[in-house]
C-alpha cells in the first residue's frame, strides 16, 4: 500500500521509500525512513497535496511524491 491511498486521520508505518533522485533524497532528509509512524492530517482543498505528521512536525507533499512511500496501515 502507498501513502497517497490514505485518508485524513488514518495512520501508518513506513515500509520503504521508492524512487530516486531529488524526491527520494528530500524524503530521507525530512526523516521519512523505514519504521516511522505517519498520521495523515489533512488534504488541500483541491485534493492535492496532502499534509502528514511525522516525527512531530507537519510535512506536506504531493500525492505524486506520496506514491513513493510504501506503508502498512495501522
Amino acid at each position: 500500500m502507498r501513502l497517497n491511498e490514505l485518508k485524513p486521520k488514518e495512520s501508518c508505518r513506513i515500509i520503504k521509500i521508492h524512487g530516486s533522485g531529488t524526491t527520494f533524497r528530500r524524503l530521507l532528509d525530512m526523516g521519512c525512513l523505514r519504521g516511522e509512524k505517519i498520521i495523515v492530517s489533512k488534504v488541500a482543498p483541491l485534493g492535492d497535496p496532502m499534509d502528514i505528521i511525522i516525527r512531530g512536525y507537519h510535512l506536506s507533499l504531493r500525492k505524486n511524491e506520496a506514491k513513493e512511500i510504501e506503508i502498512e496501515k495501522l
Binding site: 533524497r25 512531530g56 506536506s60
Partner: protein
C-alpha cells in the same frame, strides 16, 4: 588593544528562528550581498564582545547539507571553503529530531558546533522536559537555550562562542554508521589517500561518506580535479555501493540517513524528550480554518484581495506625494536654471526618468511588508499548499501564485517576489511568465486605444487583453517547462511550520533590506538609461533645418493678433499648433525619430507605421510613456489617456484591428527598463537578454498573425 576575531557561521532549518537570532547578535551592524556566482542572499554582520570581534555569517536556512538545492550547496561550501571557527546551529526546540539532523551533518564536517535551542521556554510550557546537559554530553556539543523573539540567551550564546574558541574547541561526537558502512568508508578513504586524489579543503573520510551517498556535487568536483584517476575511484565506489546493497538490502544513502536519525533518536530517548505525535496544538486549530477543504480557498482569495488593495490603494497616497514632490522639484529647477540643454537634461531626462522609478517605492515597501508578515507568520507555506494543485498543472509551483498576482500591480515587485521560490527553475519560469500579467503601467495604453476604437465596449476589450495575458502566461510556462527548464517542477515536499506571531523588528528589517536594494540598484541603472533616452530624443538638434519657416509663421500670427484681426483665443490656438508642428519635426529629426523611421519596415507587416514604432520603442522606458509619446507625436500638449482629441486622431489614423493589435503588442513585450534592471539582478544577464529577445519575438509573431489573418476578415 588589538582585537581578536572569531568567525561564526549561523546555520539552521528554515523557520527555526535563525534570522531573529542573527538580528539579536548583530543588531544593525549588517550587510546584505550575494554569495559569489549565485543569487542566494548573503547576510553578514559583527559584534564586539569581551574584547573579541565576532563576525557572523547567516547561512541559508536548510534542512540538510546534501546537494539538494542551491541553498544547501551554498551553506555547505561556505563551511568547507571559508572554514569558520565555529558553526552555531539554531535548533527549533519544539521539533528536535528533524532539526538535529542538520546539526549531525555539520558535525560530520568536523567543525566545532554550538547548538542554540531556540524557543526552549515554549517547549517547557508544553510540558516537555529536556535534560540539556545530558544531551550536550551525548552529542559532544555545547547547547545554549535561547528565545529569539524575547532576545533571551544572546549573551550566553556569545559567552559560549568565546569559551569554545579559547579552548580551541573539542571536536564533536563522531557518529557511527554501522560496521559495514564504516568498513567501506575506510576502504574508499585509503584509495583516496593512496591515489593522491586532490580534495582541496575536504577530509577523506567525509568525501568517502558523500561518495557512498552518491552526492553529485562532490563527484563533479573530484572529476574536474582528478580526470585521470576518477574513473577508477568511481568504479571502486560503485563496488562498495553494490556490496552494501547486497548485504544490507538497502541503498547506502538510506542506511546513512537512518544512522543519523537513529543516533538522534537514541540521544533523545536517553534524555527523556521523545517527541509526542498526537497532540492538537493551537497551530493545528488555526489550520482547521485556514486550510479547510471548503473555506480554505475563499479565505485565501480574500486575503490576497486585501493584500492587493493594501499595496496599491494605500500605496497610491505616498505615490501622489512623491509625484507632486518631483514635479515641484522640476518646477524649482526650471525656475533656477535658464532654459537650454542642461535644464532639459535635468528636468525631462533625470528628474522625469528617476522620478518614474522612485514613484514605485511605496508599492515595494508595502508589498514586502505583506510578504514578510505572510512569511514570518507561516501562512506562506499554506498558500503553496492550497494553490499547488492549480499551479502544478501549468508547470509552476504553489508558491508561484503570489508573484503572479503581484504582477497585475507592477511587474518589478513581482520579479523580486519570485525569490520566495526555492528552486531555481521554478523561480526563472515564474519570472519569465510574470511579464504577461498586465501591470498598472500598461492600463493607460489600453484605455487610450480601447477608448479610441471601441468606445461602447472598451471595458470588455481591455478585459480581453488581461485574459489573453493570463493564457499566454500559462502557455509560455508550459513551453518553458518542456524546453529550457525540462523535467518536473521541483518536488513538493515542504514543511508546514507552526503559525507564529511575526516580530516587528524582523518584519521591518526584511522590508528595509529589499527596499534599499531596489532603490540602490534599479536607481543607479535607471539614472543612466534616462540620460541615454533623453539624448536619443534630443539629438541631433534640428537647429535651422525646419521644413517651413515657422519663425515667419509665428511672426505673421503675432502681427494679425496685434492688428486685431485675430481674437486672443484663436491667437493662442494658432501658436500652440505651430509649436506642436515644430515639436513634431524636432522629434522626427532626433535620433529617436530616425530610429523610428529606420525600424518602420520591421513593424510594417504588423500594420504599425513609424509613429507606433517609435511609441513602442519609447515604451521600453516605461509602458505608460507610450501614451505621452503618442501625445507628442500627435502634437497635443499635456496628453493623457482621457484626451478626446488624441483619441479621435488615433481613431482617424488607424483601423480598430491595428489598434487592438497594438494593445496586444504592448502587452507582450517586456515591461520596462527598470523591470529588466531588476530581472538582471535577480536572474543574471543571460536570462534577462533571453526575456527581452523572447518577448519581442513573441509580441512580433503574435501581432503579425493577428494583423495578417485579421486583415482577411475585416
Amino acid at each position: 588593544m588589538e582585537k581578536k576575531e572569531i568567525t561564526v557561521a549561523l546555520a539552521g532549518n528554515p523557520n527555526s528562528g535563525k534570522t531573529t537570532i542573527f538580528n539579536n547578535i548583530t543588531g544593525s551592524r549588517q550587510h546584505v550581498g550575494n554569495y559569489p556566482g549565485v543569487t542566494v542572499e548573503k547576510k553578514s554582520g559583527d559584534v564586539i564582545y569581551k574584547g573579541y570581534k565576532i563576525n557572523v555569517v547567516d547561512l541559508p536556512g536548510t534542512y540538510s547539507l546534501t546537494a539538494y538545492s542551491e541553498d544547501e550547496i551554498v551553506a555547505r561550501n561556505y563551511i568547507i571553503n571559508e572554514k569558520p571557527d565555529i558553526v552555531v546551529d539554531v535548533i527549533d526546540a519544539s521539533n528536535l529530531e528533524r532539526n538535529l539532523y542538520l546539526a549531525v551533518q555539520i558535525m560530520e564536517l568536523g567543525i566545532p558546533v554550538i547548538l542554540a535551542f531556540n524557543m526552549a521556554d515554549i517547549v517547557k510550557q508544553c510540558g516537555l522536559v529536556i535534560n540539556i546537559s545530558q544531551l550536550s554530553d551525548l552529542l559532544g556539543t555545547p547547547i545554549v537555550e535561547t528565545t529569539g523573539f524575547k532576545n533571551k540567551g544572546t549573551k550566553e550564546l556569545l559567552d559560549e562562542i568565546i569559551k569554545l574558541k579559547e579552548n580551541e574547541g573539542k571536536s564533536p561526537y563522531k557518529i557511527k554508521y554501522g560496521e559495514e558502512v564504516e568498513n567501506e568508508i575506510d576502504r574508499i578513504s585509503r584509495i583516496i589517500i593512496d591515489k593522491k586524489i586532490i580534495l582541496k579543503n575536504l577530509n577523506p573520510g567525509w568525501v568517502s561518506l558523500k561518495l557512498l551517498e552518491e552526492d553529485m556535487e562532490i563527484k563533479n568536483q573530484l572529476q574536474k580535479e582528478n580526470e585521470a584517476v576518477f574513473p577508477f575511484l568511481e568504479n571502486e565506489v560503485n563496488k562498495s555501493i553494490n556490496h552494501l546493497k547486497n548485504i544490507l538490502r538497502d541503498n547506502p544513502s538510506t542506511i546513512i540517513a537512518d544512522a543519523r536519525y537513529g543516533f538522534i533518536k537514541g540521544a533523545l530517548t536517553e534524555t527523556h524528550c521523545e517527541t509526542e505525535i498526537e497532540k492538537v496544538t493551537a497551530s493545528e486549530k488555526i489550520d482547521r480554518v485556514l486550510t479547510n477543504r471548503i473555506a480554505g480557498l475563499p479565505i485565501f482569495g480574500l486575503l490576497m484581495w486585501l493584500m492587493f488593495q493594501f499595496v496599491f490603494k494605500v500605496g497610491a497616497y505616498p505615490m501622489e506625494w512623491i509625484d507632486t514632490g518631483f514635479s515641484r522639484l522640476a518646477d524649482l529647477v526650471s525656475n533656477v536654471i535658464p532654459a537650454g540643454l542642461i535644464k532639459s537634461l535635468l528636468v525631462d531626462g533625470i528628474i522625469g526618468g528617476v522620478g518614474g522609478v522612485i514613484i514605485f517605492t511605496p508599492n515595494i515597501i508595502l508589498l514586502f511588508l505583506c510578504i514578510a508578515v505572510l512569511e514570518d507568520s507561516g501562512y506562506m507555506a499554506r498558500v503553496a499548499f492550497v494553490m499547488d494543485q492549480i499551479m502544478h498543472r501549468i508547470g509552476l509551483h504553489g508558491k508561484s501564485f503570489i508573484p503572479m498576482l503581484i504582477g497585475f500591480g507592477c511587474t518589478i515587485p513581482a520579479y523580486m517576489g519570485s525569490r520566495i521560490l526555492d528552486d531555481k527553475k521554478d523561480r526563472l519560469i515564474t519570472m519569465h511568465v510574470n511579464t504577461f500579467m498586465s501591470c498598472g503601467a500598461r492600463l493607460p495604453v489600453y484605455i487610450l486605444f480601447a477608448g479610441a476604437f471601441f468606445s461602447q465596449r472598451a471595458g470588455n476589450v481591455v478585459f480581453s487583453i488581461y485574459v489573453i495575458g493570463i493564457i499566454v502566461a500559462v502557455l509560455v510556462a508550459k513551453l518553458l517547462r518542456v524546453t529550457r527548464f525540462k523535467g518536473e517542477s521541483s518536488p513538493f515536499v515542504m514543511e508546514l511550520p507552526s503559525y507564529r506571531i511575526p516580530t516587528l523588528k524582523s518584519v521591518l528589517l526584511h522590508t528595509w533590506e529589499r527596499t534599499w536594494l531596489y532603490l540602490k540598484k534599479a536607481g543607479t541603472i535607471i539614472l543612466g538609461i534616462s540620460i541615454i533616452m533623453w539624448i536619443l530624443f534630443t539629438f541631433p538638434a534640428i537647429g535651422a533645418n525646419y521644413s517651413t519657416d515657422y519663425e515667419a509663421e509665428i511672426a505673421g500670427v503675432e502681427a494679425s493678433f496685434e492688428a486685431g484681426s485675430l481674437s486672443e483665443e484663436d491667437y493662442k490656438a494658432a501658436l500652440t499648433e505651430i509649436e506642436a508642428k515644430m515639436g513634431m519635426e524636432e522629434l522626427e529629426y532626433s535620433a529617436a525619430g530616425r530610429i523610428g523611421r529606420f525600424i518602420e519596415p520591421v513593424f510594417k507587416p504588423l500594420g504599425f507605421d513609424w509613429k507606433l514604432a517609435i511609441a513602442s520603442l519609447s515604451g521600453i522606458a516605461a509602458k505608460e510613456v507610450i501614451v505621452s509619446t503618442m501625445g507628442t507625436l500627435y502634437s497635443i500638449q499635456e496628453a493623457d489617456e482621457e484626451t478626446e482629441t488624441l483619441r479621435e486622431k488615433i481613431a482617424n489614423d488607424y483601423s480598430p484591428l491595428k489598434g487592438y493589435n497594438f494593445m496586444l503588442f504592448t502587452l507582450l513585450y517586456f515591461p520596462c527598463m527598470a523591470g529588466m534592471a531588476v530581472f538582471r539582478r535577480e536572474a543574471g544577464w543571460k536570462e534577462m537578454w533571453l526575456q527581452v529577445g523572447f518577448t519581442l519575438l513573441l509580441a512580433w509573431v503574435v501581432s503579425l498573425i493577428v494583423f495578417q489573418v485579421g486583415s482577411l476578415f475585416v
